[in-house]
């Protein structure tokens, strides 16, 4: 349980759920908390969210599988979301996608062998003025070029300590 969410967080959300009339409104919050803590949301995470809020696992899973930023499968330590929507597409995201896949040695939906990066496509990140853009974790990077992307990957690698 502890590796999914800290006891303090569980207690915090339990108290919050008790205090409000509609504990369902916290499902996404707790799912995100589990993901922050564990990296992704395993089945046991869905069940933990349900137990914490007093709702059914089905009700949690219905949302966990709906939202694309909740990972229900294992991901690397950092998830790269490369925007493939129109503004980024118009400014070279397809070439960037090819570059990233080649540089990381993985296809979209895959995780690097060292478990560091998972590469996913995403819809528009709201960084259209800085296209092409990607988001790693919750940080958005814009005006990407292959060289700049490589630098960012290197920097993230250092941050994670890999």
């Amino acid at each position: 349980m502890q590796d999914l969410l800290s006891q303090e967080q569980i207690d915090h959300f339990k108290a919050k759920a008790d205090a409000i009339a509609h504990p369902h409104e916290l499902i996404v919050d707790v799912l995100r908390a589990v993901q922050d803590h564990h990296g992704w949301v395993p089945d046991a995470g869905v069940e933990l969210v349900a137990a914490t809020l007093g709702v059914t696992p089905v009700e949690v899973e219905e949302l966990a599988t709906f939202y694309d930023k909740i990972y229900r499968r294992p991901v690397g330590r950092r998830v790269i979301h490369l925007c493939d929507s129109i503004c980024c597409w118009a400014t070279g995201s397809e070439a960037l996608a090819a570059h990233l896949q080649q540089r990381l040695g993985i296809a979209f939906g895959e995780t690097t062998a060292d478990g560091l990066f998972t590469l996913l496509p995403t819809c528009c990140l709201g960084a259209c003025g800085d296209a092409p853009a990607m988001m790693i974790g919750l940080t958005t990077y814009g005006t990407l070029t292959p060289e700049k992307t490589d630098e960012i990957l290197e920097q993230v690698r250092k941050e994670v300590g890999a």
């Binding site: 089945d43 089905v58 899973e61």
Partner: protein, 776 residues
């Protein structure tokens, strides 16, 4: 009442009717998927497009989402609307696997029908199809998601209508998946309704898998035989095997849905131990010879010991016609010992219901529409499952649900549970009338006061009682209470749960006749020498089986007419094989006094699957069908009475003898049935039900009913095995700790696995009445 024009034809419909229904009223059926009468309109499939030319809304609209209004002019044939309908079908078929040849839904598939009706005949999409991985949903439901058209009917039925919690819609866009969080058996006791509501083959009946094509299936309207509600079912069989049951529709009773006990509990029909051959003194005989032998021996007994030496025991499983003929037979013999229920308490409670039943008897439809439901000693999920569904529908419309019961009663909706001792069930009714709750714990007083107030103020209140726990005295108190709270503006409804599909019919016939205690006494004293059991089993059904068995030991002649491997059938001197409900026509009277007919679905006989020893076709041939001897119970009785063995003639004769049953003459199976008109002017004097006693220092045992395992016919249905609970005992935690027991402990009783539950009355030990071995 809005009046509108659809395809140049005027139609007037009740306020609130949607245009799709209004068109259906004119016989114009427009393809639709997500709309379902019981589930309502949600506008998801976008198929029922019509063009609105005049009125408050214009243009192409989804007819299910538009309420009919005065002056609307609507076209269903407008080319734009037709084109849209064809496109919607084209979209729905994009990823469909086209596996109709191996799909169990084939032939009764709404998607097949609507594809044709919607005008989509030519496939244009040649891209990749979306596919899913299916789940194992347990023994009843087969899952094939690739056939899904995402109409959301399943989740609306399972979650919203039935209150199930272990099923949902996952994912998004064109990858919405309907299933469970983890694989496993669907937990709702109404899971089988997924099969009926799914318009294609995503959810099919696993017990029926690959057995028959729909068009090869013999089907006919029937009645659910496992409780007293009289739910409409449509069983289907082939090659003399009852293969499946689906829900029939009766707006007065079950509406559209049935429970899993009814759907998957028909295995008794093809039970391998079912006695199919007549027997005289352990020798097989023809039915004709056996009838002759019964008549001779009964005549001999009467000649030797007098007419009171022969007793007749009908049952709630036998058709109403057979029970009525049994009474005639007794009368023709000059015998008075005729009764229709071996369980004393159930017998007297049912008779108390009949004595008091009047216009306030609630239909399931009334329960669905109620705004206050008070259950007293009633556990719907066990005793009458579809009632739990009806209560849920009322609760969804904000009805208040209060349960007064010694048991921890669960329902698929919000409820207030106030634990009562069994004895309090009667007195709490009186307290409600008196508005005096002084003898109740303080914690309950306030709630009970609000219940009394609610019974005064609610617009459509219903009191629901279980005959098993209430007994005759409680049933009378229930009716007293309803009458007490009735006003000139509105009555207070009453529904009583009885034991079997024809308990009410038997109780009408029993009137103020003798009871089972008297029969036992007469047996002990040697007055009764012969007993004819009509689909009844006093060895098992009596309230005190041990006492009953001793008394029955004095019999010189035991005759059994039965369709099941009962103890009576096994021990009978002469046995006559009867047909199961699905093998004959007849009628039952449900718990509200509704007379409903059923028709034969299949002919009796060993299924080819059995006679061919798993091989098909059988290698040995004979001119007769193996196991086809069983005869309709009323037909056997007609034979014993030497009457014409014709149902119409039998019904006419019953109606002639007793005008209360006039409705029998033109009773149709394809109907809502007919409520009996009973006079309550003369209340018959009923035998008294002896009170339960228990020795000082011991716990009174409260036998209760389980969803699966307590009902004889369901018990004989092997498909239901997975739902059968372990034998178990329930104790209040305080009581348990006094006995040094804890939740989950094994207890030395005749059962094990104790349960502690705060929702029950502290002074009892609750034990589920579960049938043991089959047949003997």
């Amino acid at each position: 009442m809005p009046k509108l024009t659809i395809d140049n034809r005027e139609v007037t419909v009740p306020e609130g009717t949607n245009v799709l229904e209004a068109a259906r009223g004119l016989g114009i059926v427009i393809p639709h998927f997500c709309y379902h009468e019981a589930l309502g309109a949600v506008g998801a499939c976008r198929l029922c497009a019509m063009t609105f030319a005049e009125g408050p809304v214009k243009g192409i609209q989804m007819a299910c989402m538009v309420k009919a209004q005065d002056g609307m002019v609507v076209s269903t044939t407008d080319p734009a609307a037709s084109e849209l309908r064809a496109h919607v079908i084209e979209w729905l078929m994009m990823s469909h696997p086209h596996d109709c040849p191996v799909c169990d839904e084939g032939g009764e598939c709404q998607l097949q029908d609507m594809t044709i009706a919607g005008g989509h005949g030519l496939r244009r999409y040649r891209g990749l199809k979306r596919t899913f991985v299916n789940q194992d949903l347990g023994p009843f439901i087969e899952h094939e998601m690739n056939r899904c058209i995402t109409c959301y009917r399943c989740v609306r039925t399972y979650r919203e209508y039935c209150g199930g919690t272990d099923f949902g819609a996952f994912g998004s866009r064109d990858r919405v998946f309907f299933g469970r969080f983890r694989e496993g058996r669907l937990e709702s006791p109404f899971s089988g309704n997924l099969v009926d509501v799914c318009p294609t083959g995503v959810f099919t009946d696993k017990t029926f898998r690959f057995k028959s094509r729909f068009w090869d299936l013999q089907e006919a309207p029937s009645i659910y035989p496992h409780c007293s509600l009289g739910c409409r079912t449509i069983p289907g069989g082939r090659y003399r095997e009852l293969q499946r049951v689906r829900a029939g529709m009766n707006p007065e009773t079950n509406g559209f849905f049935i429970c899993d006990r009814g759907r998957f509990g028909s295995g008794y029909v093809n039970h391998p131990d079912r006695p199919r051959t007549a027997r005289i003194d352990d020798q097989t005989a023809s039915v004709a010879d056996a009838i002759k032998a019964v008549r001779e021996r009964v005549t001999t007994t009467i000649a030797r010991y007098g007419p009171q030496s022969v007793a007749f025991l009908g049952s709630s499983r036998a058709s109403f016609e057979a029970n009525a003929l049994l009474r005639q037979w007794a009368a023709s013999c000059g015998a008075q010992m005729v009764l229709f229920e071996a369980n004393q308490r159930r017998d007297l409670a049912a008779r108390a219901v009949v004595a008091r039943v009047a216009d306030q008897a609630s239909r399931l439809a009334d329960v669905r529409d109620s705004d206050l439901i008070v259950l007293i000693g009633a556990d719907p999920l066990a005793e009458a499952p579809v009632l739990a569904l009806a209560i849920r529908q009322a609760a969804r419309r904000q009805a208040r649900v209060v349960v007064l019961d010694p048991r921890p009663v669960a329902l698929p909706c919000r409820l207030t549970h106030l634990t009562q001792t069994p004895a309090q069930l009667v007195s709490v009714l009186e307290a409600l009338r008196q508005d005096d709750f002084g003898s109740w714990p303080e914690a309950q007083q306030k709630t009970l006061k609000t219940v009394a107030k609610g019974l005064q103020e609610a617009e459509r209140p219903v009191l629901i009682g279980g005959a098993d726990l209430l007994g005759a005295e409680g049933v009378a108190a229930l009716h007293d209470t309803a009458e007490h709270f009735a006003t000139t503006d509105r009555s207070v409804g009453v529904m009583t749960l009885l034991a079997g599909p024809n308990s009410f019919g038997g109780a009408v016939l029993a009137d103020s006749g003798p009871d089972f205690e008297t029969l036992c006494d007469d047996l002990q004293e040697g007055h009764v020498k012969a007993l004819v059991c009509l689909q009844s089993d006093p060895f098992r059904e009596a309230r005190d089986p041990a006492k009953s068995q001793v008394a029955l030991g004095h019999l010189e002649l035991l005759v059994s007419i039965d369709a099941t491997p009962s103890l009576a059938a096994h021990r009978a001197d002469i046995f006559l094989p009867a047909r199961a409900t699905v093998e004959m026509a007849g009628s039952y009277i449900n718990n509200e006094g509704r007379l409903q007919a059923f028709l034969p679905v299949i002919d009796p006989g060993e299924p080819i699957r059995v006679s061919g020893q798993g091989d098909h076709p059988p290698r040995e041939f004979s001119s007769t069908t193996p196991g086809s001897e069983p005869v309709a119970d009323w037909q056997l009785l007609a034979g014993l009475l030497d009457a014409v063995p014709d149902l119409a003639a039998v019904r006419e004769q019953i109606a002639r003898n007793d005008p209360r049953f006039a409705g029998l003459v033109d009773l149709q199976a394809e109907s809502e049935g007919q409520r009996l008109t009973l006079s309550t002017a003369v209340v018959p004097t009923l035998p008294k039900d002896p009170p339960e006693t228990s020795a000082e220092g011991t716990l009174p045992l409260l036998p209760t009913t389980a969803f699966i395992g307590s009902d004889w016919l369901a018990h004989l249905s092997t498909a239901l095995e997975p739902l059968r609970p372990e034998p178990q005992v329930w104790l209040h935690p305080e009581q348990a700790s006094r006995l040094d027991l804890a939740h989950g402990d094994r207890v030395v009783l005749t059962t094990h696995l104790g349960h502690c539950h705060e929702g029950m009355s502290p002074g009892e030990m609750i034990v589920c009445r579960l049938e043991k071995e089959r047949g003997r």
